[in-house]
């Protein structure tokens, strides 16, 4: 079994430059599509460049897209983010749809997220508004005035009536019943 996820770098959520507080800024700076003009493994990439690349560019004016042909090498997508991260995706034998999907993912990311495991799925600067819970929240303030050692508080807390107590009560009730009966007679 692979335990590689155990050795991933654990990290908390980070957002570059308070992104989204005022407005959203796309964090992808530039993308380089590297491919071979005649190798079969680049076929999808070539088709993508011919058919879908212009639409992608029009959709995302904030991203600079470069196309770099090179001979006899596998196609890759290289992305550079505003925070300086670079990430590349091996696009060998990818179809044009797959390439578009990966490009969209790279565009929507804020940095290279590979090899990072998020420790918490929420980030807050204000962990508590009403004050953190303590053992004394929602307790009677009378407890503050108790002097210790206090025999009442140290014993076990039993709220239920015991069997003997219940029997006693039954007995009392019975006695009352007898009295009423005698009165009736």
């Amino acid at each position: 079994m692979s335990n590689s996820h155990l050795f991933l770098k654990p990290a908390f959520i980070t957002t570059p430059g308070q992104n989204g507080v005022g407005r959203y800024v796309c964090q992808l700076q530039r993308v380089v599509l590297k491919f071979c003009k005649n190798n079969g493994s680049s076929r999808g990439m070539r088709e993508f460049i011919e058919t879908k690349l212009m639409d992608f560019v029009k959709e995302s004016p904030e991203v600079a897209v470069y196309v770099k042909p090179r001979r006899h090498r596998t196609p890759i997508i290289k992305a550079e983010y505003l925070n300086g991260d670079t990430q590349w995706v091996n696009a060998r034998n990818f179809t044009e749809d797959e390439i578009l999907k990966w490009l969209k993912l790279l565009k929507s990311q804020s940095s290279d997220r590979t090899g990072i495991r998020l420790r918490k799925l929420i980030h807050t600067d204000f962990p508590s508004v009403q004050g953190p819970w303590t053992p004394y929240t929602f307790r009677d303030p009378q407890l503050n005035k108790v002097e210790f050692p206090c025999p009442e508080l140290t014993g076990p807390f039993i709220n239920e009536t015991s069997a003997t107590e219940e029997l006693l009560e039954l007995y009392k009730r019975q006695k009352l019943g007898n009295v009423e009966e005698s009165r009736a007679e």
Binding site: M1, V129, L153
Partner: protein, 202 residues
């Protein structure tokens, strides 16, 4: 049989009477203890309690008015809320970042409002929904700032003595949400007679 029970009881009573003094003191202690240690916060009245509805209403009206005055003077301070988002509950305040796991359609840069609010609170008061706070009372705005994939997770399956082993690798799509604003905009304690119609399509 019927005659047996009082006999038995009598026998018990003889036993019990010896300890009755002890027991009485103990029960008194328990009463005192229970008054300190536990407080009933349920809606049901304790048997000895006398409920005066007018008095109760007056008290709740007073509390609501206090909250309302805080809201009108905008002295409520920082608000937090518990929202139901894509099957999970999150405690959020302004400026938080929340990660929603799994496929979720909103795309980057979109502004959305979170409607399933289970609870809103400030430092001095809490509005609790049953189960959801009334629609239109609270306004929570959020921005989608990132859509990524989680780290590679492994799913390992093995059957003993059957020469069967599989490792599956998968990633979960994640959406990062920035909470922009939480505010109480509606009127307190004035729910509409009919709700849910504003979103229904006939």
């Amino acid at each position: 049989m019927a005659s047996l029970i009082p006999k038995l009881l009598n026998n018990f009573s003889r036993l019990a009477l010896q300890n009755s003094k002890k027991l009485n003191t103990r029960s008194a202690q328990v009463e005192k203890l229970s008054s300190i240690l536990t407080k009933c916060y349920g809606t049901q009245a304790t048997p000895y309690e006398i409920i005066d509805e007018e008095k109760d209403n007056k008290k709740s009206d007073e509390i609501i008015q206090k909250v309302q005055s805080q809201l009108t003077e905008s002295k409520e301070g920082r608000l937090f809320a518990i929202v139901h988002l894509a099957g999970k509950q999150f405690r959020i305040t302004e400026g938080d970042v929340v990660v929603v796991e799994g496929y979720w359609p909103p795309s980057c840069g979109e502004r959305i409002s979170l409607d399933k609010v289970l609870l809103v609170g400030a430092s001095d008061f809490t509005l609790i929904g049953r189960p959801v706070v009334q629609n239109g009372l609270v306004n929570i705005e959020a921005t989608v700032i990132e859509k990524t994939l989680s780290h590679t997770k492994t799913h390992f399956r093995k059957k003993r003595r059957k020469q069967y082993m599989r490792i599956h690798f998968y990633k979960i799509p994640q959406t990062h949400l920035r909470i922009n604003r939480i505010s109480i905009v509606g009127e307190l304690n004035n729910p509409p007679e009919v709700s849910g119609l504003e979103k229904a399509i006939f």
